[in-house]
């Protein structure tokens, strides 16, 4: 094995472990939700792990990220403490947002916000980007369902016009809620909008973290240099139904973990090693969920009124 191959192998092993960590979190969440222990309208990010890992690998500490309604992997890959995310999902005072947000509206310092309104973070991300100093950038995740909203087109136009330093990352899983993409639009691929708005754009296999990282790194170079936004379309699978508990099994093929595992196998990484790590990560995630549910305090409704405003007025 050449040094370059050894490097690639080590990187892929690390990424794969990270992807398994994100997956294990979602699996533990899905189990607890199915058992009636975790509340909420959950849209899990299973299938998008390679995109989250590949994008964050290109980002610096000063960069900021905006997320979608499938936000858990973005927050975990962005370095947010899984305990804070789990406690938020569980509706506990110890949660990332003290139980006032829930799954679709997570907010943190680095991954600024998720949204329950499809397309709702696109304009916010570009405005936020206008307050950053070079070479800091903003990355904004959204699904292909958001591409049909007015918010997407207004935001592409405005970001291009203002040369906002944003990398728009479309996670195209082929589904928009309960309909396939071709039932929502006559436009083939999202990447085509790049040319229309004069935005550099690429499309990649979103099950390949190396491909995502390479494309994002290429696109980010001019964004960091002040040339304006870029668009990356990542084709991914939706491994779960639209939301947890939905009776329709509208999923698609292409588990990114299996794709990376095939590559790892070629590089001589044995299944036993992987399975051992996977089992440990799943055990950790389940233990985290149990611990939060058993031990963390619920928020006090008496505190809600004072949270409505940063500066409450007398009434």
């Amino acid at each position: 094995m050449t040094p370059a191959e050894a490097d690639q192998r080590a990187r892929l092993v690390h990424w794969h472990a990270e992807m398994m960590r994100l997956r294990a979190f979602e699996e533990a969440v899905a189990e607890a939700h199915a058992a009636g222990e975790l509340p909420g309208l959950l849209h899990l990010s299973m299938g998008g792990e390679a995109v989250a890992i590949g994008i964050f690998d290109c980002l610096e500490d000063h960069d900021r990220v905006f997320s979608s309604h499938r936000p858990h992997s973005h927050f975990l890959a962005g370095g947010v403490d899984p305990r804070l995310v789990m406690a938020e999902l569980a509706g506990r005072q110890s949660g990332l947002c003290h139980g006032r947000a829930g799954t679709m509206h997570l907010m943190s310092d680095r991954v600024v916000m998720a949204t329950g309104i499809v397309g709702g973070t696109l304009p916010v991300a570009l405005g936020y980007a206008m307050t950053r100093s070079q070479p800091a950038v903003v990355a904004c995740f959204f699904g292909d369902g958001a591409v049909q909203t007015g918010a997407f087109h207004e935001s592409m136009n405005l970001a291009a016009l203002w040369k906002a330093p944003v990398l728009f990352v479309c996670e195209n899983n082929g589904w928009a809620e309960f309909s396939s993409r071709d039932q929502h639009t006559t436009v083939g691929n999202v990447v085509r909008y790049g040319e229309l708005y004069g935005i550099p754009a690429q499309e990649v296999d979103g099950s390949d973290p190396e491909a995502v990282r390479r494309a994002a790194a290429e696109l980010l170079e001019p964004v960091r240099a002040g040339a304006g936004p870029a668009l990356l379309e990542c084709h991914i699978a939706r491994l779960r139904s639209h939301y947890e508990g939905d009776w329709r099994e509208q999923t698609s093929e292409g588990d990114p973990l299996l794709a990376v595992e095939r590559r790892l196998s070629e590089l001589g990484v044995h299944d036993e090693e992987i399975n051992e790590v996977r089992a440990a990560l799943l055990a950790d995630a389940r233990a985290l969920c149990r611990s939060v549910l058993a031990g963390d305090d619920v928020p006090d409704p008496d505190d809600d009124a004072a949270l409505v405003f940063a500066s409450p007025l007398s009434t």
């Binding site: 949660g95 003290h98 907010m107 916010v124 570009l126 918010a151 949270l307 405003f309 940063a310």
Partner: protein, 320 residues
Amino acid sequence: MHQIQAARAALADFMADDPSVVVLGEDVRAGGPFSLTKGLSERFGDDRVRDTPICELAFTGAAVGMALGGAKPFIDLMFNDFITAASDQLFNNAAKLHFMSGGRYAVPLTVWSIAGAGTRWGAHHSQHLEGWLTQVPGLKVLAPSSPSMVAASVRAALTDPDPVIVVADRTLLYSREPLTGDDGSPWSSRVVQAGDTVTLATSGRLTHMALAVTAELDLSVEIVDLQRLAPLDVSVILRSLSRTSRLVLAHDEAVCGGLLASIQRQVYEQGFWLLDGPIVTVSSPATPIPAAAALEDAYMIDERDLIAALRSVVDEQVAA
């Protein structure tokens, strides 16, 4: 100074003191339709006075993002009616992010918007939508009625860490009329005319109309200029009722739902025993605002409506 000049001067002074203020909106470099932002781009540069395409949703969302990122955006949303196009970002993000983030983020956003009929401009450039705005916890709404208070509202909104919508009355944009209590706070209602028989609470052009009509009436009317519409505070109305015990509410809105219903609810809950009889409201019919002059004139509240309401509340309640 008239109200637009007062707003512009307050905004310019604030921008000179605070480099984090950024103005956004359609044609703001050219001054906007009512010359609110005239001269600001020449003085402060194009980076701080940003023209936007006609995309209220995206530029309102962008302003929310700028606020999260440390700027103090001031957006000229032009007409109240255009809030409909911006409403997802106003209602779901600007209003909620402080709460939903558990207090991590604030959204110091100022929205300037004018409202009011009487121009024959029809149902898309004439509405008062304060009733909607007051239904969304997390938004603050100011409705100033004099040039000094317009300036004070702009300063208050830019100083405040929360989203504040300043609703200026279309009819008063070029008015220079001062009101009693112009040196007070825009955050609380004010008594612009003392009286002891009936309280009339209103805002904008109707505050001025109330002053004019009551000067000719043999009734002692206390006029409350509401000023702060959200979050609602009826304490000044209640104090006035403790003297007058009769209440008329007037607002340029359709009679369905609305601001006056919210005020009535609070007054009935907090001040029922101060009242000698039912609250009487003056508003417009539950129709879209018509364009034809004869129809729009009939739609709008006028002097006779105010007088009739004042008379009815006194006559009926005295007779009873």
